[in-house]
């Protein structure tokens, strides 16, 4: 042990700042929240041990179920659609068209704003009853609709927002496409494969490790989405809880209703859920991800 330290102390020295951050800002707060999740804690008075009471209460909470439903719809729709969109754009940009850098930058820009307050505010402007979308529809004689303020459509405006921010996976796809050896396409062309076949028989299988990576990242990202729903609904998750994302409900419980113990329990359930989903995707990857080696 002592010799190991002697050999590695320089490494630890350079690791120090990060290590302090990890322990101080991640590990300790996480363990504290794990403890809080077993207590009744209103943030002002000391926490009282409550055992599993919070977890039991969660499963009897109708709002918990509606927030799970909203989040599930959001993850199940926004992740695949965003990835398909990102892949399509990446393939288009990979065809050696002129000014590709300009396009690449232009398509990436929305992701830079990703999750920002300004974009969420902009979204309100687009989908409001007097917003951009209704003005465009008005030109074609279609009468408008309150997209954001109607429970049945509000969640879809947020899904479109997520899809629009396809830049990050697109750039990664683009890098992946460049890695595919050109001779594979040459051989396929000689054998008479058309573009369609080339895409499904070469591009897609060769890209599966990248798809796998993007899928994991975007699933985690989507589970944790907060800002768009918070801004678009004014922090309420309304109308009628139709944009009550899980994270938003967690936030309301903790910071507006002062049930920090309950909110901590919700946070840990989210962590476990994300871990399970990610684990399942990893397990399934053996069946559909192909590595060249």
């Amino acid at each position: 042990m002592k010799s190991a330290w002697k050999r590695n102390w320089v490494g630890f020295f350079f690791l120090g700042p990060w290590l302090i951050g990890l322990i101080g800002f991640t590990t300790i707060p996480m363990l504290t929240s794990l403890y809080f999740s077993f207590t009744k804690y209103d943030m002002f008075t000391p926490p009282n041990w409550a055992g599993l009471a919070n977890y039991i209460e969660i499963f009897h909470d109708p709002k918990f179920y509606s927030s799970v439903k909203v989040t599930a719809i959001y993850v199940l729709l926004s992740v695949p659609l965003q990835l398909i969109f990102a892949l399509l754009v990446a393939v288009l940009l990979n065809r050696g068209i002129r000014a590709v850098r300009l396009y690449r930058a232009a398509y990436y820009v929305p992701s830079l704003f990703g999750g920002s307050v300004a974009v969420a505010l902009l979204w309100r402007q687009v989908f409001d009853s007097e917003g951009l979308l209704n003005s465009v529809l008005g030109v074609f004689g279609i009468s408008g609709h309150n997209w954001i303020s109607t429970p049945s459509t509000s969640i879809y405006t947020l899904i479109i927002l997520a899809i629009w921010q396809f830049g990050a996976p697109m750039v990664i796809f683009l890098a992946g496409l460049k890695q595919i050896p050109v001779d594979l396409y040459e051989a396929a062309r000689i054998d008479g494969a058309n573009k369609f076949q080339q895409f499904f028989k070469i591009t897609l299988p060769m890209l599966t490790p990248i798809i796998f990576f993007n899928l994991i990242m975007e699933i985690i990202h989507a589970f944790q989405a907060f800002t768009p729903a918070y801004i678009v609904s004014g922090g309420t998750g309304g109308p009628l809880d139709s944009t009550l994302f899980y994270t938003l409900y967690l936030y309301q419980k903790g910071f507006t209703e002062f049930h920090m113990g309950y909110a901590s329990a919700l946070a840990w359930l989210l962590l476990v859920t994300i871990a399970i989903v990610t684990g399942l995707v990893f397990a399934s990857s053996k069946k559909w991800v192909f590595y060249q080696e």
Binding site: M43, S129, N146, S149, P239
Partner: protein
């Protein structure tokens, strides 16, 4: 050599950790004391608070006033986090809707000692105003401004459609009849996207509270239980359902769209509503926005048991965690009793608590502000005391809004939504 470097590293570590722990205890070497104040508001209000803090610093060169502010929602989110972290500002702005949550969790200082010592002078405050700052008999808050709610009436719109505007003396049946009459006239004139009144069914506080009080009920009893029954909730929602069916209030989607917009973007400011519920001190803000329209404040409808009025307003409190409560008390006293402060603040958050300051600001007011003050002074005469809500009031408000929304969107019947709300409400109140 190595040992020395390791030693150095540990020293750096210890210093940096110590750095994390050293919180600002508010005193600096030159004997200057610093206190932090915080408030909610918009740009115009921030300017006023800043000027008042500057004046205070000028008068008390040994006290430095640090400032924090945010919009209404952000303010409360931030304050909750700060309070939990033990670094809340010394002087905080308080509101009756939140006061109970903070006072009952033992985070505010009982100001009685500073009132007795004369640091905070409330001798010119009417008894009802002083009492409105008391929770469970303790003085937790000093009123910066007191106000009452009512309906603001767009008189110009009433004239345009040829309907008589309502007066102060009316009951809830008159209110419904008036709204339906107005809507018929609006339709006859062919005005699109204009309604008689906004959907106030979601207004747990204050409109539902007015309704209950005028019917001889309360929102909460003295011992923190619900002061109303399911029948009251049903009657309330049924009244608004009648107006909704008559088209006299906006549809649910429109209501939601405008739920969080700023004052100048609201339906009323755009001239799309004939009547709207606001606190009296905001009348002049609407008047500023609607220069072409003539506005008037009328009282909320009365009921069989008389008046619904109770004292609302904005208050200042000192937090338990304050290291300089005496200086904080001095600041509060300056804010509510000095001409220098009131010359700037005027009726920003209601009529000043002190009658002396009321007389002082009155001649300095513009016409709209004058109207605000007249309304508040007139209605304060009817105002009774409202028991403070129990912990969990915020949660109850959310539940009430949910019930109102599910009725408005047609997702559940009045009966079902009211029953669901009562069940939730009772469990929240009983679990405190």
């Amino acid at each position: 050599m190595k040992k020395m470097i390791i030693g150095l590293f540990s020293i750096i570590l210890v210093i940096s950790l110590a750095g994390c722990g050293s919180s600002n205890n508010g005193s600096s070497a030159d004997g200057k004391v610093s206190i932090t104040i915080s408030w909610w508001g918009d740009t115009a209000r921030n300017k006023k608070y800043n000027e008042i803090a500057d004046e205070f610093e000028k008068e008390n060169p040994n006290i430095e006033v640090k400032r924090q502010f945010g919009s209404w929602n952000d303010y409360w989110d931030k304050l909750a986090t700060q309070t939990a972290g033990g670094n809340a500002p010394d002087v905080i702005s308080m509101h009756p809707n939140y006061a109970a949550d903070y006072a009952r969790r033992n985070t505010l200082l009982d100001l009685d000692q500073y009132i007795k010592s004369g640091d905070i002078d409330v001798s010119n405050f009417p008894k009802s105003v002083v009492n409105s700052g008391k929770i469970s008999g303790k003085n937790y808050m000093i009123a910066q401004g007191v106000t009452t709610s009512g309906q603001v009436v767009n008189k110009s719109l009433f004239e345009k459609i040829g309907v008589d505007a309502p007066g102060d003396q009316w009951n809830w049946d008159h209110f419904v009849d008036k709204a339906i009459e107005v809507q018929k006239a609006i339709k006859a004139k062919g005005l699109k996207g204009t309604w008689a009144v906004d959907d106030q069914s979601i207004q747990y506080q204050p409109v539902f509270e007015y309704y209950l009080r005028s019917n001889g009920k309360q929102l909460y009893t003295e011992d923190g239980k619900l002061g109303f029954t399911q029948k009251d909730v049903e009657n309330w929602f049924n009244m608004w359902e009648t107006l909704r069916k008559a088209g006299a209030i906006p549809d649910a989607a429109t209501v939601n769209e405008y739920a969080n917009v700023s004052l100048e973007q609201s339906l009323f400011a755009k001239g799309k509503l004939a009547m709207h519920d606001i606190p009296g001190n905001q009348l002049y803000l609407y008047a500023d926005q609607m220069k072409d329209s003539q506005l008037e404040m009328v009282r909320h409808p009365q009921g069989p048991s008389g008046d619904g009025e109770f004292v609302e307003g904005a208050y200042l409190s000192i937090t338990k965690s304050s290291k300089h409560p005496k200086e904080a008390a001095k600041f509060i006293n300056f804010f509510v009793n000095s001409e220098k402060a009131l010359k700037i603040f005027k009726i920003e958050q209601g009529a000043p608590g002190s009658t002396k300051m009321n007389d002082y600001v009155k001649p300095q007011l513009e016409k709209g502000q004058q109207q605000s003050l007249d309304f508040i002074q007139k209605t304060l005469k009817y105002a009774g005391e409202a028991p403070y809500p129990p912990k969990g009031n915020t949660e109850l408000t959310t539940e009430f809004t949910n019930a109102a929304n599910s009725i408005a969107f047609g997702k559940s019947s009045v009966k079902a939504a009211s029953a669901a709300f009562m069940k939730k409400a009772e469990s929240i109140v009983n679990n405190q």
